[in-house]
Amino acid sequence: MNPHHAASPKIGVLALQGAFQAHAAVLSMLGAIPVEVRLPDDLDGLDGLILPGGESTTMLRFLELHGFLDRLRDFVHTHPTFGTCAGAILLAHAVQNPPQPSLDAIDITVERNAYGRQLDSCIQTAATTLPGGPLEMVFIRAPRILQVGPAVTVLATRDDHPVLVRQGDVLAATFHPELSSDQRIHRLFLQMVQAHQAAAVRPATGSPASAPRASA
């Protein structure tokens, strides 16, 4: 993938339930090695992690077991992580409709099922801050980002609400880039992984938002 790094990055995809296969397929196409994560120990040795779409309530049931939530919280606060839809809900600072536990990895407040049910799912194409022209965004029973903190960069919006946001090594989308052929967002995430790896070999240049905590 990157001529400057001999080894392809190992990217975990939380595979408790949901669109993990679709993410893994995009990662493979881009030269990364996808690793299905079903238990806490599966996080060992990963360079980054994707939390896919699906049902966040289902995923939380599993995260409550085997000390998974604490291990995952440590991981997402110290490694590049990308959450889509339910994954973005898990990464949020706070969740509404209804309130539920989250990893507090990115300073956003998210409302679940905010646009309605499946009949309100839609595909939109809009300009974003990403280079390369308009971006196709697939929204499926999507959540809405209600608030973003000062450290969060908004990369794309829908009706003035952020839909793609970044804070340091954490990226979150309320839509499904794994369901589009446009791979720019996965490429961006893999660039974040590379930058994180490069910073790790050159000490004391950590990215601003990854809290300098010991890696799990």
């Binding site: 595979a15 309530t57 409709n97 099922n113 499926i140």
Partner: protein, 320 residues
């Protein structure tokens, strides 16, 4: 790794409506979809980690025991269940009963199951599912039947199994048949696919697509007789991408549901079954975790051996 959407951009499955339908199906993968008959059961299902609930008035075991004409559930019940949970809600329409499907779409259910569990309304035609914005799931016993349903617009296929029995044998037969027939297509030459389509009684374009991809162009789930965590693990290992559990969670005797509203012990039993089957569907390749989950199960559905059912009483033979 199978991915049912990104490889569909250059074919008939690339229309926005069908992509959104397949997108929701993708989100349900690796989970358990549970039949529920009231709000309390729906809450238990969501709390246990179900990815979706199927709202219906009688689970298949009760329909089988009580007889009569089985129809779409009362919209009032469906709306109550939709209001009670945050996960997607499915509901069943009779085979060919497009007016029931119109009602379900109007209610805003997230998926419609055109189901052989209900009494068929049309002996020749299934619903034209392309005419709907709401995605459909349909049952199939073999590849030809699956492809006919997909041609009509189904965004998800599930094995039929034999509903309401707690006997997994026919779900296994149907899954093995579909997987074997897919494998057989992949080794055929291009010139052999025309006859294959004729033999499968399925559209040539879909047959060719399956032959090239080695899988269905929509997610392939399993239903019909799945009653235990090990049943779920079995179906997932055989190729199911998600399991539907009908009568296996909330039934006590064949026609008697557990009283989850008034009896704490019976409620605990339903919760234990629901939780265990969710764990098994995710960790289907991990016998240690399936064993631990199975150990937590209190009681089980009594069940009815599918082999003991008279031919005329089978539900799986409905639809064609």
């Amino acid at each position: 790794m199978a991915d049912h959407t990104s490889n569909l951009n250059s074919n008939p499955f690339s229309t926005p409506t069908l992509r959104l339908k397949l997108g929701l199906a993708e989100m349900l993968k690796g989970g358990v979809i549970m039949d529920v008959m009231n709000v309390e059961q729906a809450r238990i299902a969501e709390e246990a980690g179900a990815v979706s609930v199927m709202a219906l008035e009688r689970v298949p075991a009760m329909i089988r025991a009580e007889g009569g004409v089985a129809r779409m559930a009362n919209p009032k019940l469906i709306k109550e269940i939709m209001a009670a949970v945050t996960i997607p809600v499915m509901a069943k329409a009779r085979i060919g009963h497009f007016a029931e499907a119109q009602v379900l779409q109007h209610l805003g259910v997230d998926f419609i199951d055109e189901s052989e569990v209900l009494t068929p309304a049309d002996e020749q035609h299934h619903i034209d599912k392309h005419a709907f914005t709401t995605p459909f799931v349909c049952g199939a016993k073999n590849l030809g039947e699956a492809l006919r349903r997909i041609a009509e617009g189904a965004a998800m296929i599930r094995t039929k199994g034999e509903p309401g029995t707690g006997d997994v044998v026919h779900a296994v037969t149907h899954m093995r048949t579909i997987v074997r027939e897919i494998k057989a297509l992949t080794v055929l030459g291009e010139e052999e696919l025309y006859a294959a389509a004729k033999n499968l009684q399925a559209p040539y374009e879909l047959v060719r697509m399956v032959a090239k991809a080695g899988k269905l162009p929509v997610p392939n789930f399993s239903a019909g007789g799945i009653a235990t965590p090990a049943d779920a693990a079995l179906m997932m290992q055989l190729g199911a991408e998600t399991v539907f559990v009908g009568s296996g969670i909330f039934m006590k005797e064949r026609a008697t549901p557990l009283d989850v509203e008034n009896d704490p012990a019976e409620r605990a039993e339903a919760v234990s079954r629901a939780r265990a089957i969710v764990i098994a569907a995710t960790h289907y390749n991990d016998p240690k975790l399936v064993a631990e989950a199975s150990e937590q199960v209190l009681g089980s559905m009594k069940g009815l051996a599918a082999a003991a059912i008279e031919e005329a009483q089978l539900m799986q033979t409905r639809g064609w």
